[in-house]
Every structure is written in C-alpha cells, then in structure tokens.
Symmetry: C2
C-alpha cells in the first residue's frame, strides 16, 4: 500500500526539524523535501513557505496545502493555486510568541522604558511618575488567532484594552468594535496601537498619513503583522514630525531592512528582524498532522484559509 | 462626636491626591498632613512613608500604622515603633504595575530584544532564531503579594516558570519550592531570574558572588524589590566578567544612582528609576479605608505586617 507523501518547500525553515517533528506525529508519512520529490503524482500534501511560481501544478494529486506560517497573503494572491483545501499554521507556541512580543512592546511604552533608555545613554536618573495600567488605552487591530489572544492578555494584565476587526468579535474585558467608523474611532482613542491585521487587498495601505494623523499626538505604534498594511513613507514622515511618537516594527517593505534606511537613524523606532512570531516545528507539527488526518477523513483542515477572503 | 483623624507623612507621595482619594471612601475622616496635625492625642491612624525618628511617639492614641508602599523594611527595623497593628499597601493597581514591569523585563530578554537593540545601534539586521517560551526557564524569588501574581502571569504567558519563597507556596503551572537547598537549585536552573524578595535580616545580601556564580553562565537578572538583597559590588563584577549576562535594575544601594556609578557605563544593564511598582492613591485608598473600618470594628487590618518577621 502506498504511504501518503508530503512535499516540503521553504527558503527559511529547517526541513530536518520538520521531518523529525512530523514523523513523531505521523510515523507512516513519506516526507519529501523539494526538489527531491520522487514521482510528483504520488504527492498528497504540500507544506510550504513562498514556493516558486508553478510549484503547485507539478503535483496533480494534491489534497491539502499547508502554509508554513500564519500570514497567507503571499500564498493567496498567487495565480497558480490549485483548488484544494488550504490550511495555515496557528499553533499555541506561535500564539504565545506573538503575545509575548506584543506584551513586550506595549509594556515598554506603558512603563516609559523608552524614556529611561534615553536617560541612561545620557547617564541621567530621570524619574517619570508611572500611570496605572487601567488608565492606559491600548488598541489591537485584528482580532484573529494571533490578535485575539494578544488583546486578551493585555486586558488581563490590566490595560484599558480596545480591539478592532473586520467582523465583530467578543473578548472578555476588551472593548471590541468593527467597521469603518469604528476603525477611525480606535485610532483616535488609543495611545498605544498594535497592528496584527492580515494583509489582504482591503488592508493594504489601510494606515496612511491620514490615519496616522487621527491618532493622539505622539501615540505609539507597534506593527507585527505585515509592512504593507502601513504606508511606510507616511510612517517615516509621522515619526520625524512627532505625529507618531514611537514605533516598534517587526516588518518592513524590504527585508532585511537595507543599510542606510531612514528607520535605522530614527531614535524613536525599535527594529526587530521579523520574528515576532515564528513557527516552531515541535509545537506546530501536531496541528499539521491533525489537518492531514482530517483531510484523510474528508473533513476540512484546521485553520482553513478562505483564498477569496484572503485569510 | 469626634471625627476619626489620620496623620499623613511622606517625602514623596502627594498628600492632596491621598486626601481626595480617601475622602471619597471615608467622608468623615479628618485628614491631617504633618506637621499640621492639631492635637496629637486626637490622631487615630498614621499613613506614612519613612517618617522621621520619634514620629510615632508623638501620637499616644494611634490605632493603626499604614505603610505607603509594599516594602516595610524601612519601617519594621525602626526602634520607635509603637505596639499597634501595622498594615501595608498591596492594591490591585500596584500588583498590575509590578507584573507589567516583570513581564517587560523578562520578555525583553526572552525575545532577544537586548541583542536587537545593540544591532540597531550598529545599523545591522541581526536575526536570532526565537525559542519557544515553553523552553525558557524563568524564576521568581519571592512569591508574596507582588511576586505571586507576577509568577502566575509569566506561567500563563507560556514560560517554564519556577518560584521560590521562604515558606512553600502553590501557584498553578509554577514549579514552587522553598528552603535553602531549593534556593541554590532555582539559581542553577533559571536563565532569567526575577528578584521580588522582601528585604529582611535573612534576605539582606542573600545574593552575593557565590550565588551569582551558581546561575547559568550569562544568565539574566531582574531586581525590582530592594537593592540590599543583592551584593551590588559582586553584581557589578559578575556583569563585567559575563558571569551574569544582563541585568534590569530598578533599585540601587544609593538612589538616585549617582553620576559616574559603574552601572551607568555597563552596556548590559538596563536602569529604571525605582518605579517598578508605585502606589496610586485612587486605587489604594479603598484598601486603606477598609483597614481603618476593620480596626474600628476591632479586627486586624488588611495586609497586616508581622514586625518580628519583617514583612
């Protein structure tokens, strides 16, 4: 009897870590790393990150495509997708990692650490009277599988937490809103704003000069989703003029961020190299295996992606 | 009928904020700010932070002393205390604030932000593959009213969390230990260690050169309790030699930290000006008022302090 076969492709993920993690879950799975794929007609599943154009057409019997990450924007806008179920990763380790990044960036501003860092460089003891967390309004844009838990943790910590998403969500202790008017309202309300929106045709460029100017003067912005949601040139101008006070950025129009890019020289920007949340094979393999089991039974996979909707 | 009277003394706290917050809770309380105390014999309660020597003897009818903070080390070691119940502050706002500080400092190290900060100063994109939080061992020393909630939040976020206290505590998902042998064990175990121990005769100098050397090479230390728990000279030597990799310090032997102090020049130290957790009158007044009500009824106050034990 033919063993089910999976093809793996990623320019950044370690195939051997994935082989080991998946074989612990599905010992009978035939794990093949592109380009060493054997007979393409025997490949059932694809586990991929940004594969080259035409990749999917090579495998006529694909039953499932799993995206090696949470953001599928680079997958769903392709013109070579095949009509099989698409799944993406959203394992608990990834959720915990994103929440830790968001909590770090938000508490750093809420506790005035960026001010103390600058004082320390001057060798100065500079006291700023702290404000209770309950008086600090923090907003999360995007309340999906990453944004929802991040917003919940911020609320549990005691922040006055707001959340916005395309469709209305409900999260305990988080003031959740949806729709265009509420989007402007959350921008006006929050002094710390976290962007966890998926990149879709609707969200591309959603935060431009006009939207940044709606935020309270000197507000703090955290972007840990996709660079293209925010107009980078507008953000640079806003950070220079003080319209936006501070930014923590994990994503950029060009990555790695090129030497000499204006962000490098802005004292009010904290740069991290696109790792707010990454996939850990050991933690994510369980979900990947479960999706394969479901597809074998004729059920939809976990974390199914609607290619039309874009997430 | 005589109104109950309270005397307020603090070199750092705002008496008018406290007057307003307490009168909302106890409208009939006669709030007096030292030295404008009227007839000292009519004073029933003291709400104080480090009052001058002999302060308490001036008030022969005191029924309650409330410390304007969580740490009572400077109160209980005085030789002029009077035999009345002592209470300290531990309001939810203060707990949330301390937790936010601890979570900030721990996630900064766990997410390698200190490395990215240095790379950014060099204008360099320096990727470090993140580790799952569940593989990062974080320890909290002291599991009292501040340490306990901080440890719980770290565990809820997904860290592999350890806690040590003088007497055994139980916190969900936190590996709690107590006693001298377990103290050495937690030092050996954790790559990030948070000190939230109260300062007592037992804890003074508890972490010296020997204890720092027990920690994993390059471990990270966070001190948000009292400077004297850690031997400052030993810590400086350990930070210089790399025995301790990084430290986030909110407390110092001399505050404000003097210009030219070695900590200012150590690149692997983050300095904050003693504000990890402060008292917010609006949030703390409810507990202060409740303690007064309890003492009026002949009951012990909230957050009662055992002066012998020291906390």
């Amino acid at each position: 009897m033919k063993r089910d076969a999976l093809v793996f492709y990623s320019p950044v993920d370690d195939p051997e870590a994935w082989r080991e993690a998946l074989s612990a879950e599905l010992p009978d799975l035939d794990f093949r790393v592109d380009p060493d794929v054997g007979d393409p007609a025997t490949v059932d599943y694809a586990l991929v990150w940004v594969p080259p154009s035409g990749f999917f057409q090579r495998f006529p019997n694909l039953k499932l495509v799993t995206n090696l990450g949470a953001g599928v924007d680079r997958l769903v806008r392709r013109d070579d997708l095949v009509p099989v179920p698409i799944s993406r990763l959203s394992d608990p380790g990834m959720v915990a990692m994103m929440t830790s990044y968001v909590v770090f960036a938000v508490t750093r501003y809420a506790r005035d650490i960026h001010i103390f860092e600058r004082a320390q460089r001057r060798g100065e003891w500079h006291y700023v009277h702290p404000r209770p967390l309950s008086e600090i309004k923090v907003g999360v844009l995007g309340l999906g599988e990453l944004g929802g838990p991040a917003a919940k943790t911020l609320a549990d910590m005691g922040f006055d937490t707001y959340g916005w998403s395309r469709t209305q969500k409900t999260i305990p202790r988080v003031t959740c809103t949806a729709g265009a008017q509420a989007f402007e309202e959350i921008l006006r309300t929050c002094e710390i704003l976290v962007c966890l929106l998926p990149l879709t045709p609707d969200s591309r460029g959603m935060i431009g000069a006009r939207e940044l100017a709606l935020m309270p003067k000197g507000a703090k912005l955290v972007n840990a989703s996709r660079a293209a949601v925010i107009d980078e040139a507008a953000l640079i101008a806003a950070l220079r003029s003080g319209v936006v006070g501070e930014a923590t950025l994990d994503v950029f129009d060009i990555e790695p961020l090129p030497a000499g890019h204006p962000f490098w020289t802005l004292d009010n920007v904290l740069i991290t190299p696109h790792l707010a949340s990454i996939t850990v094979p050991k933690l994510a393999a369980r979900d990947v295996a479960e999706s394969i089991r479901r597809v074998r039974r004729g059920e939809p996979p976990l974390h199914a992606v609607d290619a039309q909707r874009g997430y």
